[in-house]
């Protein structure tokens, strides 16, 4: 474990995160229908290389390739029984890939199922699945945990509770919001205020947002999040919307477009900054120049 946690650093200064993993793996040959997280076992060298490219671009913290590696999510591909192995390997690969001092954040995505009474996922099933994922990531040696792309405050809050019951490491909660004419809301209808204060009440150390929106659309959201917390804010925007060019997905925001709103992210208190879908090491290099700290690591 590091002397200073990711949280210690983030309260003092901006920490540069990595960019998208899934879209990078697709560029490396991940085929339609393949489970990205399974590459932690089948092609660890490729996952490692993606991490390496991000840290070379200046990322000081990376997310493990375990977004969809909860046993609930893996059940869709009949891989639940390999959940622990996949998560452990994800942490191990990131640690191996990153220079000393880089923070490895264990990534936990949403289950994609809806909690009772609206859906048929029970709280205890969710808790079991999260416990297994958190434990394996911790065993693998992560420095922090993130519940990412969360659409339901209840699911996120349960995630924080599970994580906090198993570790004292920092826990980040990042929601994904849609922009409606009445403001930003999660799919389950949580307002920004409800989501952010709910996550903090549950014990999150860092709160923020990722995915769904490009950097221009995310700017006002980031400002709003800042109004509801004094904790460090996390933000990873998409590089625009994916469009299909021939048979491959291409993201609409160029590095230049993506970067336009980013100075305002920093002005409004974002302390952990990176990119989500469609971003690659060139976006992180540009962010690195903006953040202006080359290898200032803890």
């Amino acid at each position: 474990m590091k002397a200073r946690t990711l949280l210690d650093v983030a309260v003092e200064r901006v920490v540069l995160l990595d960019g998208g993993m899934g879209t990078m793996l697709i560029d490396c040959g991940l085929k339609q229908g393949q489970v990205p997280e399974l590459w932690n076992l089948d092609h660890p060298e490729i996952v490692q290389e993606v991490h390496r490219q991000y840290t070379s671009a200046g990322a000081e913290a990376v997310l493990t390739n375990t977004f969809g590696a909860s046993s609930i999510k893996l059940a869709d591909s009949r891989l639940s029984d390999r959940a622990c192995q996949i998560n452990y390997a994800g942490a191990e690969i990131a640690l191996k890939a990153c220079p000393p001092g880089t923070y490895v954040i264990g990534d936990i995505g949403p289950t994609g199922k809806i909690l009772e009474p609206y859906g048929d996922l029970s709280e205890s099933e969710l808790r079991d699945s999260l416990e297994r994922q958190v434990e394996s990531l911790l065993e693998g040696g992560v420095d922090a945990l993130i519940l990412e792309t969360q659409m339901d405050l209840r699911e996120a809050a349960i995630g924080v509770a599970v994580a906090k019951s198993l570790t004292s490491l920092p826990v980040i909660v990042s929601f994904t919001f849609n922009k409606t004419k009445r403001g930003y809301f999660t799919l389950m209808g949580n307002s920004v205020q409800a989501a952010i204060s709910g996550a903090l009440d549950a014990g999150a150390d860092v709160v923020g947002t990722n995915c769904s929106l490009d950097s221009a659309e995310m700017k006002d959201l980031v400002i709003e999040i800042g109004k509801h917390t004094t904790a460090p804010v996390y933000a990873k925007a998409n590089a625009g919307r994916a469009e299909l060019v021939g048979e491959t997905a291409s993201y609409a925001q160029s590095v230049e477009d993506f970067m336009k709103s980013l100075p305002e992210f920093l002005e409004h208190g974002v302390r952990l900054i990176g990119g989500c879908c469609g971003t690659n090491p060139s976006y992180i290099s540009a962010l690195h120049r903006l953040v202006g700290r080359s290898c200032h690591r803890a």
């Binding site: 339609q32 994609g112 609206y118 849609n178 409606t180 389950m188 994916a242 469009e243 299909l244 997905a249």
Partner: protein, 218 residues
């Protein structure tokens, strides 16, 4: 809009919107007992309510939990109407086969579409998620639906829709079924590019399009 009846009594619609299954079922039973025709009740009270739900969801005035509850209340009311509806006309509004394409395991959007279609009186056969082109072809051959709906949330899985349509043509099925595609990354231009009959931007639109595609001159 008011969902109550002209005489001021409570319509079933408001309970659909509020997601009150018990009340929706009760009012529907009462209406049938008092001699209201099932088809009229469906058209005047239930379907307009689901239209309101669809519109509110689209505008961000209602969210997924409320939509799911409303869909359940609609199902409860439909369970009362169904025997009567089947007695009057032997068939449902039309048969729809639906699935999320291969490589894509997202099903929330598809579930909303199913609820709305069933609510509107369609018979829906759900093939689930990560459905291969092969499965689509087999199921279409077996069920002979009027409409095929395909969903994708990932841009990277959109080409799978094209593949299904190619296989439909190869199997001489393309002329026999209307194809609607939808999902966050899907666009109108992609729909026409891959020779789909229509693109549906949301669940409400899917219902409208199904009705339009199946409307025959009377």
């Amino acid at each position: 809009m008011t969902l109550d009846r002209p005489d001021g009594s409570e319509g079933a619609g408001r309970f659909i919107i509020e997601g009150d299954q018990q009340k929706a079922r009760q009012i529907t039973s009462e209406a049938l007992s008092s001699g209201v025709a099932a088809k009229d009740f469906l058209d005047r009270e239930l379907i307009p309510a689901m239209d309101v739900v669809g519109a509110r969801f689209k505008d961000g005035d209602m969210f997924l939990p409320e939509v799911l509850l409303a869909a359940r209340a609609m199902k409860a009311a439909m369970s009362v109407l169904q025997p009567e509806l089947s007695r009057v006309s032997a068939q449902a509004r039309g048969k729809v086969v639906i699935g999320t394409v291969e490589g894509d395991v997202h099903d929330i959007g598809k579930s909303i579409v199913i609820s709305m279609l069933e609510g509107a009186g369609f018979e829906v056969i759900d093939l689930g998620t990560n459905v291969t082109a092969e499965t689509f072809i087999c199921q279409i051959t077996e069920h002979q639906p009027h409409v095929l709906c395909m969903s994708a949330l990932l841009t990277t899985t959109m080409p799978a829709m094209k593949e299904v349509i190619r296989r439909l043509k190869e199997n001489q099925l393309r002329e026999k079924v209307k194809v609607i595609i939808g999902g966050a990354p899907v666009t109108e231009s992609f729909a026409s590019e891959i020779d789909s009959d229509a693109y549906a931007e949301d669940a409400g639109a899917t219902v409208t399009i199904c009705k339009r595609l199946l409307s025959r001159p009377e």
